[in-house]
């Protein structure tokens, strides 16, 4: 076997802005604030930054960000596709660039004003990266409608119920209630609230949907050799993967032999193949939660349980602190902030530094995933 990325790079710093329904500053300003904060956290000067990675649906670009923060000569820049499916790919691309000598200090970021700005699905002049002619005329307009079809089929095939989806929403909300930075910090969720809330797209109700948020986050990636110079305990990028399954169709994945086997399965095979440990050794997971059903589907895909067992896995407090797999410990996209999954990366770093507001005791390994249902990516982090 040739070169490996295993533990070759570390996440040296993270930064974020406040999260809110509406922030006054531009996406560009928010991006710069998050990146400057991440560099401060790492103790690395902006002039040392020579690599950038972002993912699509990002409105700020390298040129604007680099000149604003005072980056040096940049020798690597990459943009991963498929919106929320690309969050973890940014770290993967920076780790690869650093491990192969293309750059030394990488910055990945996400800035988004979806709380106060327009919803992408309302823009009828732009074709989203889906085969829209086969779905949108019939009123499958929003991601919630597209995923709702898969969720209904999943419930039908495996006996999953709304209570299982509630287990996911509740775990995320409980963690947000511990996290002062979370949008839902002071708003507990009850089963009655969940069961009586309005429908968005049956079988998905309001609380099955993530929060549209204004905010920005960033992280800094450097070579592992530099770890001892850092301000904080380094978090190693142990394994990385992207996943585009054979015959996959994106969020409207209705046309494969088995639509419930999504990109998580493809990413997981590559992720575990490169890793020194397996699903049973994961102490805490940050799993992309734009919609609650993505969690049982991802639990199956990443190998925490068997096919069709993801819903049952959520029972008995399994996703809570002290459970089998504490989930989205800052509140996730459902209850901290929906910033296309980047807050899952930064929370993974906090867990492995031991600084989460819902700390899993002695957490040493963390899975972070990007959007399921679209071509995806994932990271295994370790302390």
């Amino acid at each position: 076997m040739g070169a490996t990325l295993k533990d070759a790079a570390v996440i040296a710093g993270t930064g974020q802005t406040a999260f809110a329904k509406r922030l006054p500053e531009s996406e560009r300003a928010l991006a710069c604030r998050a990146i400057v904060a991440a560099l401060d956290d790492a103790g690395i000067a902006a002039a040392e930054v020579d690599a950038f990675a972002s993912y699509t649906m990002e409105e700020t670009d390298e040129v604007e960000v680099a000149k604003a923060i005072g980056a040096g000569d940049v020798t690597f820049f990459a943009k991963a596709g498929y919106g929320g499916g690309g969050s973890c790919a940014t770290v993967a691309h920076l780790a690869a660039a650093i491990a192969t000598g293309q750059a030394r200090v990488g910055v990945a970021w996400r800035s988004r004003k979806r709380g106060s700005g327009p919803r992408p699905w309302r823009n009828t002049a732009v074709q989203l990266p889906t085969p829209a002619q086969w779905t949108r005329p019939f009123g499958l307009l929003r991601p919630a409608d597209e995923i709702g079809v898969l969720a209904r089929r999943y419930m039908h095939e495996y006996g999953a119920t709304r209570d299982h989806f509630f287990n996911v929403a509740l775990a995320c909300r409980n963690r947000a209630n511990q996290n002062p930075a979370a949008i839902m910090y002071d708003r507990p969720l009850t089963r009655e609230m969940y069961m009586t809330s309005r429908w968005i797209s049956e079988p998905l109700c309001l609380f099955d949907n993530c929060l549209e948020t204004d905010g920005a986050l960033a992280c800094v990636v450097v070579a592992a050799e530099r770890a001892r110079d850092l301000r904080h305990r380094p978090v190693y990028v142990h394994s990385v993967a992207q996943g585009l399954p054979a015959q996959h169709h994106g969020m409207v994945n209705y046309w494969t032999d088995d639509p419930l086997t999504g990109p998580a399965w493809t990413a997981a095979r590559q992720l575990w193949k490169q890793a020194d440990f397996g699903p049973a050794d994961v102490d805490v997971a940050q799993i992309y939660d734009a919609f609650t059903p993505l969690i049982p589907l991802s639990l199956e895909g990443y190998g925490f349980c068997g096919r069709g067992e993801g819903a049952a896995f959520t029972e008995g407090g399994a996703l809570e602190i002290g459970g089998r797999l504490p989930l989205n410990t800052a509140g996730g996209g459902l209850s901290e902030a929906y910033v296309h999954g980047f807050n899952l990366i930064t929370e993974g770093v906090r867990q492995l530094r031991g600084t989460s507001t819902a700390q899993v005791p002695d957490a040493a390994t963390c899975l972070v995933t990007a959007g399921e249902g679209v071509p995806t990516s994932a990271l295994l982090l370790r302390s």
């Binding site: 074709q127 085969p131 002619q133 009123g139 079809v149 209904r152 039908h156 209705y254 032999d257």
Partner: protein, 168 residues
Amino acid sequence: MSTSMRPTTDNGPQRAPDQGEDPADALLLPVPDDDGAPFWEYAARRELRVQACAACGELRFPPRPCCPHCRSFDHRWRRMSGRGRIWSYVVPHPPLLPAYAAQAPYTVVVVELADAPRIRLAGNLVAAPDAALNSVDPGRVRIGAAVKVAFHEQAPGVTVPRWLLERP
């Protein structure tokens, strides 16, 4: 809806010009690509046809330039019986685009074709070919229910397949 959200390019979704006061408030019409155009041309003739490889015979959907099984670029459009079963469905509620919000909640089904169960088509389940999107009570919809195709002229010259319950 603001004018800035109206299509400004040739490849933006087209809308029926004579539905409602503001054309931006009409249901979205399909925007065919080169591969999909024949499907809509056959639909306008009230025929449900699916792309099939001319070399190995495999059906494929959505249409694409090349057969993923044998790499042949030759294809033909095979006519389907128009019968199928509901594979899954969803019932959207507002917020939605205005024309959809006006008929919500409505049922969108994904139908697996009786002739080729691995070919699935999204569409609306309605009580009659030209009925409203919300003409079937969502409480009556079941996965596995038998359906048959119907055709609805959604705008002059633009026909879309719809689905009727075999046993309403």
